[in-house]
Symmetry: C2
């Protein structure tokens, strides 16, 4: 079967004219052993309930995964459609194929997702296991070690990593080539059991999987010494063959001939684990109970809402990056400690784990300072490719209004980075009521959702029964005499309201719009405002590039838009002082409005 999977991988990539056959060939015995012996699953049921699940972290080996699924009877796709636009079997694994839980292909991410799945299974008392296949090259990614420490710290003995140490990366040998002891020492130092094996020997692989299955209290890494291109003499262990299909004709024929007789069929019987007591998902429902006289930071309202949500919906879980007392995610920990995972200072893994939790049916809220979510941008990007996985990211401490800590702690790019993710929704509450409502909405809305919260306390603006649909906005001030429209969200909305009052005293009426749904944006309301006023002033505690201002300029194109936002690197200072310096305070708004008159 291993030889047959090799043959498929070669033929598929040759037909596609691109792909990574030699990367597949090194792990053929590992894949054969996993899919036809070790893993207990039902080829007819891709949901993987009470069944072992597999994550291909080395995503460029996708062809052999498709081949294994096909041979196991799990998919009936024509393998020769690999990489066609019409095909479900893509160049790297994506959830367009029902057997794929998380997109992989950006290396070093699969182990975090697998750890998240393993954590969720522990939570649900599900006995089924999680397997992740990594390449040796990707072990250079620090995120692998973040995942490794998370898994051992949380005693995820239901997780097994296999590292296909095939010695060769894309552009040359890997750092440690076949120094198996380096990988062994590292996994052991990160709290795992580690087993070094010949990755082409089915017998020792089987023994190793058995030992891994029997190990309790810690995850196990099987470190498989392999040869890239194994099985075909002219590519085996040779440089220069990464991501290169064999040529049709002689080259392909010679390779196939070397693989020998591959006429084999193995039937995979459905094997399940006993189902655990099912935890019923419940529709999240929140009822804010704020009074108009309060001042509440939206980050604090987030924490309070999250705790209420966790009480009403058992599928809600949270993870945080050692900032839980600042993001207020700790409020969930107070009510449901078993559903709170401390991610420590490792934001990539935090997002990867959350994605893995989502793959197990959880609704994960992952929070940190908004600026540190930039640490996880590639993970967020891949989460975006994994839609409709349900993942809520919450970034606190946005913008210069955090004040004295200085530029390293100020998120000025988070709206841009989240908006650019095609599948993402971006929400930005300005008061406690909208924060709670948007947390509720985020929990109900599949996909990847970002909520930006703020550090300073702000007034409660809305009645508790106000609703905040995605794609909407709130027009907070308007009259028949509006001359200019001001669009804002978060701390700057309060500046816009102050500017409204200053201008009103001068007899200048402005419309003020709360853009709580930054993406999708309420284009209709903005276009109406564009028609009814002379222009729009946007104001945001964020870079002027890629945030609210440009979103408004694009949505209401044809209208004059004056964008107020941060244009240079800030420095330490008091919040109000910095908002003035960077031109996003009430007086800056007043001046901008007057420029448009």
């Amino acid at each position: 079967m291993a030889q047959k999977l090799r043959r498929h991988s070669i033929e598929m990539t040759t037909e596609a004219g691109s792909g990574h056959p030699t990367t597949c060939m090194s792990c053929a015995e590992i894949m054969a052993e996993l899919f036809f012996e070790e893993m207990r699953f039902d080829p007819a049921d891709p949901t993987g309930k009470n069944a072992d699940v597999f994550v291909l972290s080395k995503g460029h080996a996708a062809p052999i995964l498709w081949a294994a699924l096909k041979e196991a009877g799990a998919i009936d796709d024509d393998l020769l459609t690999l990489r066609l636009h019409t095909s479900r079997i893509e160049g790297h694994p994506t959830p367009r194929n029902p057997w794929i839980r998380v997109t992989t292909g950006s290396l070093g991410q699969g182990l975090s997702a697998a750890a998240g799945m393993a954590w969720a299974r522990k939570l649900d008392a599900c006995k089924a296991r999680v397997y992740a296949l990594l390449g040796d090259g990707e072990c250079a990614e620090g995120s692998v070690w973040e995942a490794a420490q998370f898994a051992s710290f949380n005693k995820l003995d239901n997780l097994c990593a296999i590292v296909d140490v095939n010695r060769l990366g894309q552009s040359g040998p890997t750092m440690y080539q076949h120094e198996m002891g380096v990988y062994e020492a590292r996994f052991k130092a990160f709290g795992w059991d580690a087993i070094v094996v010949d990755g082409h020997d089915l017998g020792v692989l089987r023994t190793a999987f058995g030992r891994a299955r029997a190990t309790t209290g810690k995850p196990v890494a099987i470190l498989a010494k392999t040869l890239k291109g194994k099985g075909v003499s002219f590519v085996e262990d040779k440089e220069g063959w990464h991501g290169k299909p064999l040529k049709k004709g002689d080259e392909l024929q010679k390779a196939v001939a070397e693989l020998g007789d591959t006429n084999v069929t193995l039937k995979v019987e459905a094997r399940h684990y006993p189902p655990p007591t099912e935890i019923l998902s419940r529709q999240p429902a929140l009822t804010p109970a704020y009074t108009g006289s309060e001042e509440v930071a939206t980050r604090e309202a987030y924490g309070a809402a999250l705790a209420k949500l966790a009480k009403s919906a058992p599928q809600v879980v949270a993870i945080d990056g050692d900032t839980k007392n600042s993001t207020f995610a700790e409020k969930l920990k107070d009510v449901a400690p078993e559903r709170f995972a401390e991610g420590y200072i490792a934001e990539q893994n935090m997002v990867g784990v959350a994605l893995g939790m989502a793959a197990e049916g959880k609704i994960p809220f992952a929070s940190s300072f908004a600026c540190f979510l930039s640490r996880a941008y590639d993970f967020i990007r891949i989460a975006g490719c994994s839609a409709p996985s349900h993942l809520v990211l919450v970034g606190s401490h946005a913008g210069v209004s955090i004040g004295e800590d200085g530029p390293s702690q100020m998120a000025l790019e988070d709206l841009a980075m989240m908006r650019a993710i095609t599948a993402a929704t971006v929400l930005y509450p300005s008061d406690a009521v909208s924060a709670e409502r948007l947390v509720e909405t985020a929990a109900k809305t599949p996909g990847i959702i970002y909520i930006r919260t703020s550090r300073p306390k702000t007034k409660v603006l809305y009645a508790n029964d106000e609703t905040f649909p995605i794609g909407g906005s709130k027009t907070l001030r308007t009259s028949t005499k509006d001359v200019v429209t001001v669009v804002a969200a978060g701390v700057t909305l309060h500046e816009a309201l102050a500017a409204h009052d200053v201008l009103a005293k001068e007899g200048i009426a402005i419309r003020v719009i709360d853009l709580y749904s930054v993406k999708p944006i309420d284009a209709a309301t903005l276009k109406l405002a564009a028609r009814e006023t002379k222009g729009i002033v946007s104001v945001e505690d964020h870079s002027v590039c890629g945030g609210i201002g440009e979103a408004v300029a694009a949505a209401a194109s044809g209208t004059k838009v004056e964008i107020l936002g941060v244009r240079e690197v800030p420095r330490s200072g008091k919040p109000g002082e910095l908002m003035k310096v960077h031109g996003i305070s009430a007086d800056a708004i007043v001046a901008a409005v007057k420029r448009l008159l």
Copy 2:
């Protein structure tokens, strides 16, 4: 002196009303030993030429660094101005203070920068050493281990890391608290020598620094067991004191009293290493030599230009993430192998190391697939806070036009993420000549510069003597009859030119602008086009959010702008097919132009 540094840290943060005194107190002996005994430097010369250099990776301990610099006679700032907007001594270290080479404060980044400095010093045969002080909490960041493996792989024995293992993070105990063996095993597994010490014992610290200085062939980590808040009984080793200054009055007085007599002055004598043979920097100068009939991918032109640049300017260095045969950075390796650092698959460290190289006067080019630069976004953000450090990032394989590999390999967010960095310049060549010219310009322009290159081969559009100033654009097609303007860059510019020809046959004249400088943007030319035509069509192989379209909509606000770009998660397919599907091909441009008529 350690006690005096503690006292300063306490008094500074109390005066500021914010900051992290207990984080400073744990490392007071380490800082005292470093600045008043171990490090050889000249308090009068912050450039650090032939002198040891210090990186405070645990940037929130900034107060004690300012205190140490002040006591050493290196700065004369009033310590009680900490965190004021007018002060050079900020909440976290920034290069506004001349002793700071790289901004720190986003944890887990300092060791990469220090490794980059150490690498550059090895290259220059400079004997002076590099010291990086880390916290234990930040060792949870995978990037620390990327830096660790880079340092040992490159045998950087001129690098010494000190980990202040004070047991307590922001929101609770760290993962491993005082399990010193965990840190020791990890550093050793990552190829370092590791020494566990009592971090409050000056004698053992001195011995450890001596051993580190004497070690050859590998870097050394001094793992210092310490107590957070050491020296003041009511905060020492106590939870709940992270980032919390002492209250003025009794609390402060009690603390100061416990610290005892701090009336000490130590003079730091200037100590230098012998200067190595100086490598003269030369002004980079390139002369493209392409012919109009060629088809050259801009990524290939980048590699060729980089190699030429390296020949003419000895200060040019490169680092890549095991993609050098795809980004074509390997061309530099061919001509100057000693100036090429293989970063392997560890993009965070790649950017951090490059920033460190820049701090040593190098002009570093760091390249990978553009999508994988998202992995390093937090490092890029911090590099942006370190301006005017000179750092060139080059991202290849942009957009859906990479084709079959699928969404995990497609950069659709890189323009947005780079534009949002306030200090960044964003360049996007469309042909080989502009690619070479922009590489030359990037080498000459201090600051953080991003160049986006493309995978497909494209026609040479420009004569070799054409110039491409930052902030400019090229109007490639224009006439007095232009009805609509099309703005594009990269592969879509060639689609725009094709659309021009199609429309010309129908008697519709359009203006075509090459927006090679995405940021800063040529607003004057766009505004002129807005006045002279009915509207603008922008087209980009990138998300519609935060890229070229929104930049144009903002720069030419008041004009109708139709933004063509990617709006949903792509899948595998052929490049041309994907460009059609996502509406960024010539026919989509033709249709958009007609909608504006």
